[in-house]
Amino acid sequence: MIYQSDVPSMTDLARTPSFSAYVRRDVLLAYRRLGDTVAPLIFFSMVCALVPLGLSPDPQRLSEIAPGIMWIMALLATLLSIERIFAFDFEDGSLEQLLIAPQLIALPILAKIVAHWLVTGLPLTLLSPLLGMTLSLPTSAYPAMLLSLAIGSAYLSAVGAVGASLTVSLGRGGLLLPLLVVPLYMPIMIFGTATVFYAVDGLHWSGPLAAMGAMLCAAVALCPLAAAAALRVTSA
């Protein structure tokens, strides 16, 4: 329901849980469903381990495709898990309670995005050096890979939340969510792989990384608002 109304008062805001409380809650819930949470990470690792077997164990050839493979896998791992950012809350009624809380709901949505990144993007980033090794990524490219994955996966979570908010009422297992968000993932992937490729080739890679940072800033500012507006419509 869209009301043109004033903003909540400070007393209303003080009553509602803090930003960090929302983050802690979602991380705790993810921890209680550990199996679901680590599945995308295992998927990510397994596919990266399959590449040398399926393509070629030649380090030269592997290092040429490693950045692309890792980024595609990071993207797929996010797609596997992003649906859950609102799906459970939609099913058990928590989402309704969130929507009628006397507060600006973009804030808890941003908290959910942060929590999603903490349990998906961050572990994925920390896991990436190990997979870089299986893909013979040159050691000099590790800092670029870590930074680009950290920033990029946060962007994936933020933009994915908008897609998830649009499809939350359609039930699980739909292909609509990937269709919606993959086009929006393309720019960050281009810059993400470029960052790592530059590092592999020994070039300065701060340029594409800065572009990714800018995209992340825009996503963090806009996506919670877009998701909030979408949730009001779709979960009605």
Partner: protein, 216 residues
């Protein structure tokens, strides 16, 4: 669209010619709800006549096709946050996380109203007969116990207006007794309740609204 008739201030919640259509099908029309402090509105009607839809309208989760809602005589759009701060809505999905314990669930629900006192959360659970299972994950509890976790909010809340959508589902006789007592206590202390129930409750000051005559 109804005319902007002034609504008396002494109604806590009122609706004027509320009408809702979904996909060009009229779910109900002409709902004139009048609710004062200390009163309960009981919404009745057969399955599928739009009771839950009406409840979701009152909770501002849906917006009416036409008609207006007033809170304390003010149009709801103007006092939205004030209204939401005074509101407690428990729907069919009771917002209980099965992965969390009753204590964690209730502590979160209480925190969303600004109540951050662990002892009062425990006390509320005990009063709902959940003292022995407060730290078990909710997926190990029965449906009735999960309901009790959700309804334990009624013990803690400071909300003035309660919107309860079939709160008694899955409850045993003792549980129904507990809730009835709590509802009566809320009305006695000047609160108001909108309730959907297929059971007759032993509660005074009830206005009944039969939706079966209102739906198309």
């Amino acid at each position: 669209m109804c005319m902007d008739v002034p609504v008396p201030q002494d109604y806590l919640l009122s609706s004027e010619e509320l009408c809702f259509e979904r996909d060009d099908r009229r779910v109900f029309e002409g709902i004139n709800l009048r609710l004062k402090a200390g009163e309960m509105a009981l919404i009745e009607g057969p399955n599928g006549c739009g009771k839950t839809t009406l409840m979701r309208l009152l909770a501002t989760l849906l917006s009416p096709t036409s008609g207006a809602l007033h809170y304390r005589g003010e149009p709801l759009e103007k006092v939205r946050y004030e209204y939401l701060a005074d509101l407690l809505y428990i729907g069919h999905q009771s917002a209980v996380k099965l992965a969390l314990s009753p204590e964690e669930n209730l502590a979160w629900m209480a925190a969303s109203e600004g109540i951050r006192d662990p002892e009062s959360v425990r006390a509320a659970l005990r009063s709902m007969g959940l003292g022995a299972v407060y730290d078990l994950p909710c997926h190990q509890l029965s449906a009735g116990q999960v309901r009790r976790v959700a309804l334990a909010r009624l013990v803690l809340t400071r909300a003035k207006l309660w919107l309860l959508d079939e709160p008694l589902t899955a409850l045993d006789t003792e549980g129904i007794g507990l809730i009835t007592g709590r509802l009566q206590g809320h009305l006695d202390s000047g609160g108001a309740i909108v309730l959907i129930s297929h059971q007759d409750l032993a509660i005074g000051a009830v206005r009944k609204y039969d939706l079966s005559k209102r739906c198309a």
